[in-house]
Symmetry: C2
Subunit: 345 residues, 2 copies
């Protein structure tokens, strides 16, 4: 599967993030400056699919670095119900690689009518979404032809991390972020061996991640679904324990994103519970503790500051989904009759 468009786009990710961090730095600083000038209290993000998973990362980093709560928009309130939504105090962000989603654009239009600062994060800087926003971060990933988003996802993560850094005005974080592309490159070079064998034969699985990697769990699950049609459902380990853990068992393995930091213990609790129910576990982990456990498959992660780990951890998850697809004979560049641009309202 190394000669597919998907594989090529996956390899481009470190360079795309590197370029974005340098070329968009001024735009992002400017967005942050204008947002702060308007007494910012909270952030609203409208997005779908992989972009919505990037928004889940924003929920963590904006809270952690800036103390800003993040709401994920219910686009149907604007597009279908004409709800009289007020956005007082909000910075409103739309994320869409194509910039074509009417539902995402609709939320930004409402916000702009109310004089709130709006930002588009998109790979299409002249798209309808970009035209309605008063600031546009061009993620500059180049054409993404594979149906499964990879480089536009990591580029969106980087754009959101950079925006959080500028809103917080935090030099140490800015320096950490600058080191991310190199760590991503090292991660790609590590490969994943034959990790997909841990999920082979399953037609369903759960994916657990928490803190910054709650987003990674969602994006990993989406890649697995899109590329292999295995029903992979993402969870915070805390949510998993509230009932859904019932689905785990010998026929239903667990993929866990187990990164060193405050979330690790609860992820490993879910892994222990999964094992006790007879489920195979596959860990994406930078942790020596997590590696000590027996009987599970592991993919090593390059160590980066935990808040940036989603940029690194999603790479082997993408490769895993592609490997699963390859084993099933799926055309990874156009799987299961999916279309690249989905114009939902």
């Amino acid at each position: 599967v190394t000669d597919t468009i998907l594989a090529t786009e996956m390899r481009e990710q470190p360079a795309v993030v590197q370029e974005l961090l340098s070329s968009q730095r001024g735009v992002i600083a400017d967005v942050a400056r204008r947002a702060r000038a308007q007494h910012l209290m909270w952030v609203l993000i409208a997005a779908r699919g992989s972009s919505d998973n990037a928004a889940r990362y924003a929920q963590h980093v904006f809270g952690r670095l800036c103390g800003l709560p993040v709401a994920l928009a219910s686009p149907s309130l604007s597009t279908l119900y004409d709800a009289p939504l007020r956005f007082e105090g909000a910075l409103v962000i739309g994320i869409s690689q194509s910039g074509q989603s009417p539902d995402v654009r609709s939320v930004l239009e409402r916000a702009r009518e109310q004089g709130r600062p709006t930002v588009a994060i998109t790979n299409a800087p002249t798209s309808p979404l970009a035209l309605v926003a008063d600031g546009t971060v061009d993620i500059g990933a180049g054409a993404e032809l594979s149906v499964a988003a990879t480089k536009t996802y990591t580029a969106s993560l980087a754009a959101l991390a950079a925006l959080a850094v500028e809103l917080a005005g935090d030099d140490a974080s800015r320096e950490q972020l600058a080191g991310a592309p190199e760590a991503m490159q090292r991660q790609l070079e590590l490969g994943i061996g034959d990790a997909a064998r841990a999920l082979e034969g399953a037609d369903r699985c759960a994916v657990a991640g928490r803190g910054p990697n709650y987003a990674t769990a969602f994006e990993a699950a989406l890649k697995v679904k899109e590329l292999s049609a295995i029903a992979a459902e993402p969870y915070s380990p805390a949510d998993l324990m509230h009932g859904p853990v019932a689905v785990l068992g010998p026929a239903s393995p667990l993929l866990a994103v187990a990164v060193e930091g405050p979330s690790l213990a609860s992820v490993m609790d879910a892994v222990a519970e999964a094992r006790s129910r007879g489920a195979r576990c596959l860990l994406l982990s930078d942790s020596a503790d997590a590696r000590r456990s027996d009987g599970d498959a592991r993919v090593p992660l390059t160590r980066v500051p935990e808040w940036l780990s989603p940029l690194v951890a999603v790479l082997p998850a993408q490769a895993l989904a592609a490997q699963l697809a390859g084993a099933l004979g799926v055309d990874v560049d156009a799987p299961f009759g999916l279309r690249k641009v989905t114009r939902t309202t």
Copy 2:
């Protein structure tokens, strides 16, 4: 399965909602009055499991009736990352039937320290959660002994609907809400026939719902997972079309909540897509249009104003999950080694 604790608790739902709407009316009106006095801009809700699904309903009704955006809290930011979250402009609501979740309580504690209005919606009015909130809605469901929440879920929906009505000060909506218990009773009496046969033999399925019934999709999926261990994943039809539709097929049916109103067309689009992929479909529907389609199983829904339909639509979903469990020989009152109270942080 009619002599289980679960079945008894399900039958109590109309009476519990009726009692709540009368006994808590003063408390809810008082909470609304105090919240409005503090220049309310947005709402933050902390919850887990079924209560988090009730929060998804709040996201719809607070937006639709009051124009208030709702953010769902990431509890790990408070409990694990000690993020400096600011809640300026927010009404902060914690929902927990047991009132025992440290993560939900932690969010309310932070909000209270900042002088924000806080509300607990709980079945345990002397619980740690209730003690930290400055207003407590006692959902008064009586002891809920079955692991799968049913009456505490519908009671939480009713409490949130009543709070939205009081925040909006809308007499017509208040009258509509007063009619909900009777419609719930009629729905229970309709039963579901042998609807579960439409999902028989599947070990995974998708559940689609939108607008107010996005919450119903999540709660239906959770009941099915808890009670039958079938991996049921909930989606907005718009999200489903962004990739995950790949998982639908002959071995992976679709349960769709198809209620008359602005969301119906997009739910039926997902049903059409599912059919074209060879997936069986089971519709919970009050719609003559939806019923005209061929080849699918249907459970009729009692017609109520669309914004209240989640109170009715979840009832056959609960019964469906119980029927699936019964067919599999699961003890529905204590399925799969699950515990009633989950103390996640």
